[in-house]
């Protein structure tokens, strides 16, 4: 389905992504982990064509994506939704308008200027919001919502595109643990119920392990691990993060449970001393 072959991105002398090769043959939920600067974002941005690849190819169902231009490129972008760390909504527009932006590829500029979205689209937008549990915020401005709610609006915009692939670039990095859980559960449900491929950059191991079918580890622009969540041992994780023996999973966790366990363990340890 999606095939990435020796994809490389260079910024001047720096190589952000170095000959990344990835093959997705059926819809899956894939987590990409690695520390900041490992090239995770650049990889996703190249798939969405927000960034151009220096070398290599991306093919989706036999169609070459990296060489698309103009309308064909925009059409591909509408099939391949992107979710950002900072939500990237239009803050002063209402929630439903933001969701309707998912249909912009099919609408003319004139129709957009005069808010001429078809009634079915508006109804569908509100249904999607309802599915994500935020329908009651529909008429509010996006900026009036909390971070977790805004991220769900962004997911709704992505769903409005009716995409084949959803790319999520650190979707929970600016959210508190409760909201992070809601957002990750929403992404997982979208994958399970709609059969869409979700590729998700994450910076915590346990999130990747808990929600993903497959985990890809990146380090310094190279893919250094590609396998099942169960294969992701602490040793492998240390290699991905380039960390020494002091690295523990709890230190990167955003789950409430893990933190409790870690703190409990620490307290216990102190009690022994």
């Amino acid at each position: 389905m999606l095939r990435i072959d020796k994809l490389t991105k260079r910024f001047g002398a720096n190589t952000a992504v170095d000959a990344a090769t990835l093959d997705v043959d059926k819809p899956a939920m894939i987590g990409i982990i690695g520390r900041s600067g490992a090239g995770k974002s650049t990889l996703l941005r190249m798939i969405n064509r927000l960034a151009d690849a220096t070398e290599g190819s991306i093919t989706f169902e036999g169609r070459e994506v990296t060489t698309l231009t103009g309308a064909a490129k925009r059409a591909w972008q509408s099939e391949c939704a992107m979710i950002f760390q900072q939500f990237n909504l239009v803050p002063r527009l209402d929630v439903v308008s933001n969701v309707l932006h998912g249909t912009l590829n099919k609408r003319s500029t004139f129709a957009t200027m005069f808010n001429l979205y078809p009634t079915e689209d508006i109804h569908r937008a509100i249904e999607i919001l309802d599915r994500l549990g935020i329908a009651e915020h529909a008429p509010k401005r996006a900026e009036a919502l909390s971070g977790g709610q805004q991220q769900r609006v962004a997911i709704a915009r992505a769903l409005m595109q009716d995409p084949r692939i959803i790319l999520a670039d650190e979707p929970i990095a600016s959210l508190d643990p409760m909201n992070a859980q809601t957002v990750m559960e929403a992404l997982r449900r979208i994958h399970e119920e709609d059969g869409r491929t979700v590729i998700c950059n994450l910076h915590t191991l346990d999130t990747a392990r808990r929600y993903c079918d497959r985990v890809v580890g990146m380090r310094d622009g190279r893919i250094v691990f590609d396998g099942l969540p169960e294969q992701l041992t602490t040793g492998v994780a240390r290699e991905i993060y380039g960390a020494d023996a002091s690295f523990s999973e709890a230190a990167t966790s955003t789950e409430i449970g893990t933190l409790d366990r870690a703190e409990a363990a620490e307290l216990e340890a102190k009690a022994f001393v």
């Binding site: 005069f114 808010n115 508006i122 509100i126 309802d130 009651e136």
Partner: protein
């Protein structure tokens, strides 16, 4: 509106209906605005056209007649053009001097006025409306009027023009600067206040570094505008390239070739100022490259 806790499936319907009603209202407003805009343009055009000496469409094809005549004469005398460029350089420099001095004085005046009229920064908060009205007055009086009055009092020359433009620039930059000041972070100002700094120290060290790049880009845009303004003031006796332009561009003198040379000089000046301001702003926002 009563906020009933409706059951789940009905709830979505209600939200959809409410939102549709809101969307339709917005569409109606957009179309009303568009209709009013078109109606005003059409009605206004007819009134304005009726007042013209000739009809707009009757005269439309003659729009290029004058430029063609000017360029035609210039083309005949192409060899003399470099000489004219050199000949008018001194008056261009005079015009540039007027523009630069008035921009500089206007920059200082505008900075002071803007700081005194921004909420949260003003030295005397009660006087904010007074300083705002001062800026309004500076902008309201056309610079040509101030220049004419000053020329009458002081006699012709570059100084009246410079003062006139500086007054207008203070008002215009003051307004733009005070908008920039509103977005300033008050944290550094508070930090400086906590060590016992005076108002002018707080402004100079806490505010100016934050707003500097914006100020400079507005001032450079103003410099461009002032070059043109001082050229226009030359028409009323303030000297500079405007005076020469007035003499050469008058119809029937046969000096269109010289007028063309002056236009080329002005055009080149604007390009140079634009390029320089781009460079300078880049330096200010990104710092000098090591």
């Amino acid at each position: 509106m009563a906020d009933t806790t409706a059951d789940v499936p009905r709830g979505v319907d209600r939200i959809q209906a409410d939102y549709m009603a809101m969307a339709q209202r917005r569409r109606l407003y957009s179309f009303l605005m568009l209709a009013i805009f078109v109606a005003l343009m059409a009605a206004g055009f007819r009134t304005a056209d009726a007042r013209n000496a000739g009809g707009f469409f009757d005269g439309l094809h003659r729009i290029f007649d004058y430029p063609a005549e000017v360029l035609g004469e210039a083309a005949q005398n192409l060899t003399a053009l470099p000489g004219y460029l050199v000949q008018y350089l001194p008056s261009l420099i005079e015009t540039l001097n007027i523009a630069a001095a008035s921009t500089l004085i206007g920059l200082i005046g505008g900075t002071l006025l803007s700081l005194l009229s921004t909420r949260g920064l003003a030295l005397w908060p009660a006087l904010i409306p007074v300083f705002r009205r001062v800026m309004d007055i500076c902008r309201a009086i056309p610079e040509i009027v101030i220049a004419l009055v000053l020329i009458f009092v002081m006699g012709g020359g570059p100084v009246p023009a410079m003062i006139a433009i500086a007054i207008h620039t203070s008002g215009a930059l003051g307004k733009l600067f005070s908008e920039v000041n509103e977005n300033v972070s008050l944290k550094p100002v508070e930090g400086l206040a906590s060590v016992g700094a005076t108002w002018s120290q707080r402004m100079y060290l806490g505010v100016i570094p934050q707003v500097g790049p914006n100020y400079v880009s507005y001032a450079l845009l103003r410099f461009e505008i002032n070059i043109r303004a001082s050229a226009i003031l030359g028409f009323v006796g303030a000297g500079g390239i405007g005076y020469e332009l007035k003499n050469t561009i008058s119809w029937g003198q046969g000096r269109y070739d010289q007028a063309t040379a002056i236009f080329i000089l002005l055009f080149l000046t604007i390009i140079v100022v634009d390029q320089l301001s781009g460079l300078l702003r880049d330096r200010l926002t990104h710092g000098t490259k090591a």
